[in-house]
């Protein structure tokens, strides 16, 4: 069955902060509702903890680090799920149940199957 990455974009959030417990509970509910379709995923620390790595030129070139996320946007990548679904319609239905879709956005991308 095809797999989809559901990338959650919301206001930058610290999932570990106690005031976000209610949000986390909503994600917990999503997890138990769609447990059979979820193949993986993670909640990410806020973008303030992000480091972006670039290697100048080619492989082995100078490693340039910048403090912060790849793109500075109002809504940030705050987590992702790996979802298994029969087709895009099913994947989109599941994605609409992710709390991030209610106050942010969820980008659904098909995952390449390398047949491995």
């Amino acid at each position: 069955m095809p797999q989809y990455a559901a990338l959650t974009y919301t206001a930058d959030v610290d999932w570990t902060a106690p005031e976000n417990a209610a949000d986390m509970a909503a994600y917990g509910e999503f997890g138990s509702t769609h447990g059979e379709s979820i193949r993986g995923g993670a909640a990410l620390y806020p973008t303030a903890t992000a480091t972006t790595v670039r290697v100048r030129g080619a492989r082995g070139g100078e490693v340039v680090l910048s403090d912060g996320p790849y793109a500075e946007t109002k809504e940030a990548l705050t987590g992702f799920y790996l979802i298994e679904a029969a087709d895009l319609d099913e994947a989109l239905r599941i994605a609409a149940d992710i709390p991030a879709a209610w106050d942010g956005a969820v980008e659904v991308r098909p995952v390449i199957d390398f047949g491995g």
Partner: protein, 409 residues
């Protein structure tokens, strides 16, 4: 292309969509199915004028397209079970009508899938539902061939990689998905409509393709009101087509159109469809029905003077309520001017954000009041962004300016 050749090409395209719909399901690959049907169409266009029409053109095309699909699959090396199944495709036309019907619906809903952009939906519909070549699509959409080819490639890749399913939506999803189908048909018509005003000549008529598609959607879902209201709107708009431009392709405004040139048969059919769709929606009108009702109102007037402007203003008010657009607001201002006088029309205009269309409407109203100097200023302002106006339309505005200049005391 002669009329006979054009008819032949149209038959092949109509049949092509049917054959494609079933082939996509059996082959499981849109691109291979498309190429196979195109190959069959090309062979028919080459052979039929020489050999004459086969006994059953449909069977001939079906078998030829299936053979071509099998060839393409073998060339690529049949990998999946679905592709192996396709290699065993029966080489006769025995698909039951009910199955073809469902396949056509699957194809239509795939083209109008909400995960695709409207541009992508319209381009794909022209390709797979109307059977147009990349060149023909480019001329209908006033786009370049390479841009169309690129968009088609991207769209096919998204459908197959993202896994957009080849199926008819569930009853719960149907209303929303159906409105996406209607939007594709309507957008196709309006895009083609502006293309007919351009300098490009095409061997296909995008507006007629849109009407054909609207008819197809109606025939496939005879119990749904939304496709009826779109077909009604298209027919009522299309009915005025011959009266809308002069021999030189210049636009003729509604007030000056020769109503004898309006297509009475299309108007009748459009009216009947409008009534039927309103009965289905319980009198709650959608934007297509309201626009159709406006067109029907114009059609009911024997002359421009006989127009029921109060009714038209009422319909525009409803339309702006359910579907606000600058075009509707401008048209409403014109109707207000006809109903309550130029001053009221100009007052309605003053509430709107000026764009190039706004300036032309304003100019026409001022000229009607004999305020030619101001009218010339407004019309000149409408021409400051010439890129957004067709050559014929720009020409028309220049002639208006010249005419008003002669009248300035």
């Amino acid at each position: 292309m002669s009329t006979a050749e054009r008819q032949l090409a149209e038959t092949i395209r109509t049949e092509g969509a049917r054959i494609l719909a079933t082939l996509v399901r059996t082959v499981g690959d849109l691109h291979i199915a498309e190429d196979a049907v195109q190959e069959a169409a090309m062979r028919a266009l080459r052979q039929w004028p020489v050999t004459g029409l086969p006994e059953s053109p449909r069977a001939w095309l079906t078998v030829t397209a299936r053979r071509a699909a099998i060839d393409f699959l073998r060339r690529e090396g049949a990998r999946t079970a679905k592709e192996r199944a396709a290699v065993d495709l029966p080489l006769d036309d025995d698909t039951p009508e009910a199955v073809v019907h469902d396949d056509m619906l699957r194809l239509i809903f795939t083209c109008a899938h909400p995960a695709l952009s409207l541009d992508a939906q319209v381009t794909l519909a022209l390709r797979v539902l109307c059977g147009l070549t990349t060149t023909q699509i480019a001329s209908v959409l006033l786009s370049s061939e390479s841009a169309v080819a690129k968009r088609l490639t991207r769209t096919r890749a998204k459908i197959s990689r993202a896994g957009i399913p080849y199926q008819v939506p569930s009853a719960a999803e149907l209303p929303e998905r159906l409105s996406a189908v209607c939007a594709v048909v309507y957008t196709l018509y309006t895009s083609a409509h502006s293309a007919t005003a351009g300098p490009h000549l095409s061997d296909v008529d995008g507006c007629r393709e849109a009407v054909r598609l609207a008819r197809l959607v109606c025939a496939l879902m005879p119990d749904e009101g939304a496709p009826m209201s779109v077909l009604s709107l298209l027919l009522l708009t299309e009915a005025r087509r011959d009266a809308r431009t002069d021999a030189g392709g210049h636009p003729i405004v509604l007030a000056e159109q020769n109503r004898a040139l309006w297509d009475a048969t299309a108007i009748d059919e459009g009216r009947r469809l409008l009534d039927a769709s309103l009965r289905r929606s319980g009198g709650i009108a959608d934007p297509y029905q309201l626009q159709a009702a406006i067109a029907a109102s114009h059609a009911a007037a024997a002359t421009y003077r006989d127009t029921d402007w109060a009714e038209i203003v009422r319909l525009y008010n409803l339309l702006i309520e359910v579907h606000p657009s600058s075009a509707a607001r401008l048209a409403r201002a014109v109707a207000v001017a006809e109903d309550s006088g130029t001053a009221a029309g100009l007052a309605a205009l003053a509430e709107l954000e000026p764009d190039q269309r706004w300036h032309t409407v304003c100019a026409e109203l001022l000229a009607r009041d004999g305020r030619y100097l101001e009218a010339i200023d407004e019309m000149t302002a409408s021409l400051t962004d010439p890129g957004s106006v067709s050559d014929a339309e720009a020409d028309h505005r220049q002639r208006q300016i010249a005419q008003w200049t002669r009248r300035v005391p």
